[in-house]
Symmetry: C2
Subunit: 331 residues, 2 copies
């Protein structure tokens, strides 16, 4: 908790000199430097990041923000981990915010991040025409979008080819002989969801089929909602023989509902989920999923952010990563 002043006093120099030593400016005599460094050690000095941020122009505050919808979802936790690893490796701290798919929370945290003068923000935008985020971008704070994109404003973006992931997953089910494939999707106004739906539909078209429009439902991405929607679908007069589920947690819920209703997986109903899970292999039955490279998404997003912080005027970049269908025993 020692300040520059105290260090300066102890070393019999001015605070300016101490600051110079700290910031590796070489315009200081070796002997002065030695004296200062000793005082620094003796007082166990650590710079006050708050004062530093107040003084600094943007871009050197060693703090970035990450807003994710739900850090209890392993997919987002893995993204966060990728971001954190790169941040830590670059001496950056992370202000991690949980938006809960709640616009009010997203707004609150966006405000906090701006008011904290972070160097930059990583986030999957709540929806495609996100006014709040657009304002932040306009204000000049570097923003990197992950997972989902923004409709109007060009930003750095790390995304996964959701269309292709969905297309392959549904094609896989069709090849297994399924003709009544249910879709449990997430919120409609998110780019990823739209892409997955498009993949679902196109896979049918490509196989010369028409998608069963009585079997499409939306959930809220949580386990419980996967369970509820599945229960609804399988008790239909003309139920699906397979389910393509729009995220990991809902897929686990679907498995639970099927077990509860005595349906065998995959014999009665096959299931393919989106987003892999670390324990997908350990589920009953092991879950077939479209695996997204979430860690890489986070890693590359943070790297992009660091580049943009260093060079604010470079043109926005889009990194597109490929998902991978991992066939296990649920399909």
């Amino acid at each position: 908790m020692a300040s520059l002043h105290e260090v300066a006093r102890r070393a019999n120099v001015s605070i300016a000199t101490v600051s110079r030593v700290l910031n590796k400016s070489d315009k200081v005599l070796p002997q002065t430097r030695a004296a200062v460094e000793q005082a620094l050690r003796e007082l166990n000095y650590h710079p006050n990041r708050v004062a530093r941020r107040l003084r600094m122009k943007a871009g050197r505050t060693q703090l970035v923000g990450l807003i994710i919808p739900d850090f209890q979802n392993p997919f987002y936790a893995e993204i966060a981990r990728g971001v954190e690893d790169v941040a830590y490796a670059n001496d950056y701290a992370l202000l991690l915010c949980n938006s809960d798919e709640n616009p009010a929370k997203e707004r609150f945290y966006l405000n906090v991040l701006c008011a904290e003068a972070v160097d930059g923000i990583v986030l999957p935008p709540f929806d495609e025409r996100n006014v709040e985020v657009n304002d932040v971008i306009k204000s000049g704070i570097p923003v990197v979008c992950v997972d989902r994109s923004l409709a109007k404003v060009p930003t750095d973006l790390v995304e996964v080819d959701n269309y292709r992931g969905a297309f392959e997953a549904v094609t896989h089910l069709i090849e297994k002989g399924h003709r009544r494939i249910g879709l449990i999707e997430g919120r409609p106004h998110i780019s990823t969801n739209r892409e997955r739906r498009r993949g679902y539909l196109d896979a049918h078209v490509a196989a010369g089929l028409t998608a069963p429009d009585d079997l499409m439902r939306a959930g809220d991405l949580r386990m419980e909602s996967g369970r509820a929607v599945t229960a609804e679908l399988i008790t239909l007069p003309n139920p699906p023989t397979a389910l393509f589920v729009g995220n990991n947690l809902m897929a686990v819920g679907a498995l639970a509902a099927l077990r509860q209703h005595g349906r065998r997986v995959p014999q009665d109903v096959a299931v393919v989920g989106f987003d892999d899970l670390p324990w997908a292999e350990a589920l009953d039955p092991p879950l077939t999923t479209v695996r997204q490279p979430a860690y890489d998404v986070g890693r590359q997003a943070m790297e992009l952010l660091l580049k943009r912080i260093a060079e604010p005027d470079r043109p926005p970049v889009t990194v597109r990563l490929m998902p991978q269908l991992v066939v296990r025993r649920s399909s």
Copy 2:
């Protein structure tokens, strides 16, 4: 990004008056207040939290730190969720740090939190005699420990009765007829681990048995390590008929190893894990666990922290929560 000055100029008042309006001080004429509030709105003013923190004495910065070992572990994620919910409800933002059970990272983040002048810190200490944390406490920043305790220094603490949880879990296995019960524990110098080991041993004693000392192993709390240690144990000449596994991820790893080696659960080897999982029910087989009230741990910790921030001199409190054995099909 408007500052107090700009608002003041627009409203034809001094910055002091604007500040008073913002801080709800009532010593301001209604008409002045109205003018200021209009300017505030027109400029879309948001206070700069950095400047505010620099000026403020501790305790009113609306920022707290949370250091957890691994936010990819659902147990810690749930704690974090409890903390976050209470923080958000009180307009606090959370500086969330992932220490990775790595002392260097813990030190780094502890420094960051101090240098960021947070109002307080919630954390499970890396080990019982944690020098770094003790220094922080001495420096006066309120600290609430969760899950694990500190040996020497009294702090607010929210813990779970790990002894009892382990005792009940192992007793359950003994009652099922098991006599060769393996223990896969975590790091030795953590209070929770010691308590669980004690529960494991005492359960044997209480049943008039001696714990098999050739069946105790330590893992690193991650899935892969649970898999490896289990593989080692079950290929012993005289293998265990049951496993008590010290955390959730290692238990999933244990299940994987058993499946891989063709052991049936629970017929060949029964498994009980510590820490519940949201999808424990969906595993193959559904995993018997000692469920910890992780969300409540986080919630109460943050509430304790808020109380201490408001009243720094109150005597430290320990909240002890009860775990619950959830018997599923793996035992």
